[in-house]
Symmetry: C2
Subunit: 243 residues, 2 copies
Amino acid sequence: MSDSLLRPIKGGNAFEETVQRLLQTIRLGAVGPGDRLPSERELAVRLGVSRDTLREAISALADAGFLVSRRGRYGGTFVTDDLPEHAPGLYEVTDASAAAAPSRLSPDEIADALAVRAVLELGAVRLAAARALPAEDRQRLHSALEESAGAASVDYRRLDSRLHLTIAELAGAPSLVPLVADARTRVNLLLDEIPLLARNIAHSDQQHERIVRAILAGRADEAVAAMQEHLDGTAALLTGFLT
Amino acid sequence: MSDSLLRPIKGGNAFEETVQRLLQTIRLGAVGPGDRLPSERELAVRLGVSRDTLREAISALADAGFLVSRRGRYGGTFVTDDLPEHAPGLYEVTDASAAAAPSRLSPDEIADALAVRAVLELGAVRLAAARALPAEDRQRLHSALEESAGAASVDYRRLDSRLHLTIAELAGAPSLVPLVADARTRVNLLLDEIPLLARNIAHSDQQHERIVRAILAGRADEAVAAMQEHLDGTAALLTGFLT
DNA sequence: TCCGAAAGGCCGGTCACCATACCTTTGGCT
DNA sequence: AGCCAAAGGTATGGTGACCGGCCTTTCGGA
């Protein structure tokens, strides 16, 4: 019994964590290309980390081509206009401590990641559909759907994640959002290992639309069913490719 | 959009975190009175913390009456036979950094905690019921149920949590367990603020039995429905007492 | 009776991280 | 033209946490 509770307190050092966190907000589409991050001083407070550490992280991500910093008034830290796909030269920095990161994952780990993702996203979509959404939220959901629908292959993963994350935000339970984000980050790591097929994208787009329609109409059961189908598709893909 | 992802990296210092983690495993019944914790050296590795820090945490919990250490061969750190109810003198240590901890919580925070709890536990119970459980797991579930059923008032919260946590473990997704544990810890903090009525305990016991029966029979939908009802009961209690 | 293994108890050096303060660049406003 | 605010860039001292080693206590077994 007393096993899973005695898990590690913190993952790696503060610098590492900060890099990953920033990378996550970019990869999940929470901030898009050209967007400005909060100022270093504010970000440092928000992340609960010293400005030194934050600056090291920003600097690493700038070297890797994800961020650019501009000085002076109305300066700041911005997301690069066209993002690198596979973090060039960042893994040397990132994996310095935990060695076996890029290796092949075990079937158990894959099933675990998919199960957690399903629990969280199905729960979130049910809550979102059961709520009476204000106009602004309906708008946000709609535009997230549209952006992901017309996305090119290189942007697809990011905008897809952004849509799912938006749904999680609409659930009305703020602390659910980071959990969904982490689960999705974990699944995305797996998805990065397999090819992205145009046919699958088209299929996903259809499912996305059905999910969003059901949420906006307040049909919770249908929204959950549609999401279940959607997630099953990804799960089948993953378990198929990664034996 | 880019709000909830820029959350703090780590909560308080390592010592703090370690105290809370150990307290969690005790409070949730993962280790019971008289049980022995792993050796300091092993625990320090498992928690990803230095032995110094771990020892400070153990020492604090020993002062507060939760743990006792015995030296020598076959010694170790043990959970006290009768646990303190409300951590005497531990809050002076614990809340030194984050000041406003024991204050009244806002309705939004209550709803948030309950929503996350529901998402996780409903998802877990569905997975558990959908699996073909090995004999050993069926046995563990059964004994967790029996222990919680015959529990006195002072032990009830702990053994109740233990049962729920056992269900989460049976879901077959290891990384779901810490999430459920955290959600439950958060709800328990709220429950500590309201009285515990014998009538509610009896009612919960009935619901527990129905949940466990449904899981063991593999009737997923009924298990979820029973759990939903169970959680609704707690939610009603909480929102009633804490205006 | 003695010994050794396994556990808790105890330093001293080192480094990552933090807090604070100050400097430099930039661009709008007066 | 000049000033000022807001941002990034830099430097320095303080400290909490980690590491590694060592000591002390206790018990079972040779």
